[in-house]
């Protein structure tokens, strides 16, 4: 097939909802876009373990501690599913990790905000996982098979994340006035960064057109953001908390909530590395990677030695 035919054939598969699988022909740009997007998604899962991991030792009860441990462990698993999906496109795992550690690859900016108190753990589960779910549910139908399958698995695990967060918020909002104030304060701090998770406005988004033609993304940033606002506002009301946006109001004609403008200067500043915790997060990842180096090397050496003994038991005995 000529390259033109290949390209047409590829696009017609996408148009007729046939998934693209690892060994199928695909345009270079499709492969590159996916590797970038999937690896950034993987990095976000791994870095996302840090703000919550910060509270495991200080969870207010054994029940909450077990739940938080399980959630953070899930996020590690999500990272793995995604790195694996990127590897099916020919990406090298170690190279992807290096891109994260050197700051060449991005991860979701939401994890550059600090978790100041226990209410933040509730707000993260409810809002941050909630926003992630919006995006991930869409991605279960993405055109690349291994990515879509990873998303199905991830979405199954995510719903407990959001529910446990909401349960924390509900408990605090229904508690003492001080506890309720903490819950409201956490909502105030996490609301806008959560809306930022959907990325720039459609009119500013560099990747949107091609990504939707290839059905990598099936909804735009603004559509997903609107969907999130619409489902989350009543959840806040239900537990007596108020969304920190004076412009928020139901628009009968549109059938959606109108809401205020995001502080885009803050958005870009955090993306560019100047959020409250950017440096701290990256340092934590670098430290974990460096501290683990000897373990990785020793485990490999041990496995090779075991293998060697299996192949030539006599030689090993003689050498000893």
């Amino acid at each position: 097939m000529t390259s033109l035919n290949l390209e047409e054939n590829f696009q017609s598969k996408i148009d007729t909802e046939i998934k693209i699988e690892p060994k199928d022909w695909m345009p270079d740009a499709y492969r590159k876009t996916l590797i970038r997007q999937i690896s950034q998604h993987a990095h976000s899962e791994i870095v996302g373990m840090l703000p919550e991991g910060n509270w495991i030792t200080r969870a207010p009860s054994l029940r909450r501690k077990l739940i938080l441990l399980a959630k953070v462990q899930d996020e590690g698993g999500h990272g793995l599913y995604l790195y694996s999906a990127a590897e099916t496109l020919g990406a090298d795992r170690d190279e992807l990790v290096q891109q994260l550690l050197t700051g060449k690859a991005k991860y979701s900016s939401i994890f550059n905000y600090p978790t100041l108190n226990w209410a933040d753990i509730g707000a993260i589960g409810w809002l941050v996982d909630g926003a992630a779910i919006m995006n991930q549910v869409m991605l279960t139908r993405t055109s690349y098979g291994p990515y879509a399958r990873a998303m199905v698995r991830i979405c199954k695990e995510e719903s407990f994340h959001q529910r446990q967060g909401y349960e924390i918020m509900m408990a605090m909002a229904g508690g003492s006035p001080e506890q309720k104030a903490m819950a409201q304060d956490a909502l105030n701090r996490w609301w806008w960064p959560s809306l930022m998770m959907f990325g720039p406005r459609d009119s500013e988004s560099a990747h949107s057109d091609q990504a939707s033609k290839w059905k990598i993304k099936r909804k735009s940033n603004d559509e997903l953001r609107q969907q999130f606002v619409d489902v989350t506002v009543p959840q806040a009301e239900r537990i007596g908390l108020s969304v920190p946006d004076p412009d928020l109001k139901w628009n009968e004609a549109r059938g959606h909530n109108d809401f205020g403008e995001i502080d885009w200067d803050e958005f870009w500043s955090v993306v560019k590395g100047n959020g409250p915790c950017n440096r701290q997060r990256l340092q934590a990842r670098i430290k974990a990677y460096e501290d683990g180096a000897w373990v990785r090397e020793a485990a490999m050496a041990h496995a090779e030695k075991k293998e060697q003994r299996k192949i030539e038991p006599e030689a090993a005995v003689k050498a000893a």
């Binding site: 462990q73 698993g77 599913y81 795992r93 170690d94 485990a299």
Partner: protein, 94 residues
């Protein structure tokens, strides 16, 4: 010298009576570690009763570019399907 751990493909039997199904991959130094890691990442919610792991390099896949000639021979053999045959409606148990 730095060396990456090899890649393994993971197959899970979700319950007795069903076949093993590919679920994903992971890196591990050997089969034992691959099995343990697969347990930790792919069966955290009782998704399995049995795990197979195989190093990815040992899997040979058919080439999608050859899939036409490869699968063509089965396409025109509709007589392999029960619906190809005309049997009167009042004949039962068939």
């Amino acid at each position: 010298m730095k060396k990456e751990w090899p890649l393994w493909e993971v197959f899970i039997r979700s319950k007795s009576g069903l076949n093993h199904k590919h679920v994903g991959s992971l890196h591990a130094t050997d089969a034992e570690m691959a099995t343990e890691n697969a347990r930790d990442v792919y069966t955290r919610r009782n998704e399995g009763v049995s795990i197979w792991v195989v190093e990815s390099k040992h899997i040979t896949a058919s080439d999608p570019d050859d899939s036409d000639p490869l699968f063509e021979p089965a396409k025109d053999k509709i007589y392999r399907h029960p619906t190809f045959y005309n049997v009167p409606d009042d004949v039962t148990h068939m």
